[in-house]
Point group: C2
Amino acid sequence: MDPSRRTELAGLYRRALLDDVVPFWLRHSLDAEYGGYLTCLDRDGSVYGTDKAMWLQAREVWLFAKLYNTLERRPEWLEAARLGYRFLRAHGYDADGRMFFSATREGRPLRKRRYLFTETFGAIAGAHYAVAAGDEAAWDLAERTYRLVVGLYRDPQSHPALAATLAPKTISETRSMRSHAMPMILVATSQEMREASGDAAYTAVIDEAIHEILTDFVHPEERALLETVGPRGERLDLPAGRLVNPGHAIECAWFLLREARHRDDRTLARRALEVLDWSLEWGWDEPHGGLLYFVDIEGRPPEQLEWDMKLWWPHTEALYALLLAHAMTGEARYLAWHDRIHAWSMAHLADPVYGEWYGYLHRDGSVALSAKGSMWKGAFHVPRALLYCMQTLEEPR
Amino acid sequence: MDPSRRTELAGLYRRALLDDVVPFWLRHSLDAEYGGYLTCLDRDGSVYGTDKAMWLQAREVWLFAKLYNTLERRPEWLEAARLGYRFLRAHGYDADGRMFFSATREGRPLRKRRYLFTETFGAIAGAHYAVAAGDEAAWDLAERTYRLVVGLYRDPQSHPALAATLAPKTISETRSMRSHAMPMILVATSQEMREASGDAAYTAVIDEAIHEILTDFVHPEERALLETVGPRGERLDLPAGRLVNPGHAIECAWFLLREARHRDDRTLARRALEVLDWSLEWGWDEPHGGLLYFVDIEGRPPEQLEWDMKLWWPHTEALYALLLAHAMTGEARYLAWHDRIHAWSMAHLADPVYGEWYGYLHRDGSVALSAKGSMWKGAFHVPRALLYCMQTLEEPR
């Protein structure tokens, strides 16, 4: 990339992060009354719902702590992280060590789900908050939560008392399926724990999870990272078994690329770049542009009604994945893909009037939901991608 | 309606039912190998998934039995009902008396859900099949299944052994919500049991369910039938509490209208017509046309990504509700509404090439999913509405 282009693009990402997106969440999401964050925000930031999704509480804590730890020690970021962390700690945990999925505005628990994703976000929130605030108890809780997840990943029978809370939806005597989401999130979670602690021991879990992804979910004969496979990684002849989630696969690709760079592992980088290449091909939607949410590799109708909607996060993940791929390989096609997705995202997803990005567009790029936040969209993918894009472009060459 | 128009429209519905929609399902859905029905059918009827949703197994049994019982004693309809009923009986029931939600093609159970809807469809399938086939055991099982649902509706503690299978998703100490779907389906289920048996005793359950709907879910001050309310019928200030499901409300309106006609109850008819009027106003989507799937009564973003999609079933329910309203009142505006929805449905939902209707359109009326059937769309709403529309138009005046 020519240096002036790099400087211009870095400035664009920096301004989007610091003058638009972070201020949007600081202004609208902090719940001064009950602690934590309000994330059901309409286009202009007005609140349309007050329930609190724990994924998003944890992710926003992580964001403010990460900004504080890696970008600048702004007291307002530390305060914002503290507001969320105290809520998460007071109301996020059940007595059995697991976390709740959602709570009322005041913090009374609404749902606990069978998936361990809240726990992974709780761990990275606590780990980075512990560093930012120098809070050792926060670290201990984060580490305990992380160990619980890893223990259950390695052996689902390791915590018999939790078995009932983790029972799969599908009767496992009839059909057993494995989801890409679990090893994928363990790579990212362990990377964040390692970064916050400086402890290389987390690498062992990353190795296990990467091995599982590359062996069982990456199917070169289909040129696809499959979202759901059978117990031995086999392709299942079902709608769920034919499903590619391009955004998820692209996000996984950059988790792997970051790991490859961390280790200077060219074989891993090559495998990650393959996943990135395939997933862009599956996801990119001519002639409308943008990335599809779900694709059936045989072109059959997916089960998800929203399959052809354009969501914000596959686009944010692609922007960073492509800048990282370009930085690591120097290949011009990654920059060309970045520019294509950047132009489409800025034209359709970004809101120049009230700031932040829309979350949910129709296939043709028109706005389907006016919300800037929901029980699923919070202060996470957009600012994380803007931060990482900016940092990638500002790295010394 | 002028008599020649009525004859023409009745003929149109009759041909759509008997020359298009019923043959589509007879041709593509009968599973000669394992019994039951294949419902994951692409545009041309080709199979893209073989799992069997028990709702749809039961509803297709009901349809063929109903056609046989009320329209014509065609042996192929009885055979088609038998194929599905045997599968449902062999594979639909768990040992505890509840039913499974889905199974593999061979009938091995995949999921059992916390809702009792499978059981209500199982009851009406068994009841009408019992009449068609003269199968007393089918009647006994249908009646037992119906009694289980009614018992749990009246007192959720009535079957302590089932409590764990019925626990709500939301922690009820924090928030208790009631759904319109339960009393609504009990009205329709009890009507079908009464029709199949000729036993007026089912009317007591209908009375209870109608009372609950009119007292707690119909909110005249909002001009809305709300989909979810609090324990005492109060409006909840949450996205779920502001939700109107126009298709559901319109379907409920015709359940109530049929009941009003059955009883010659003008007060009930007036209440039902109000719900119909309001729900058409909430649902009709200018300038695109068609009925929205979900609407927030304050114009806030709904939680459902698919909120502005146009699904087949709100349109089929509206067609019949409006013809019935017109037949009962003679008011021209119901016919005008019928004609508007009929024209939009025929232009966008019906498939003149391969038959049947698409299930899922974008807001603008373009096809979002090519499927004719899925784990949710089967041989039910389209043929039921065509049958009832035809019967309404062919009634002596």
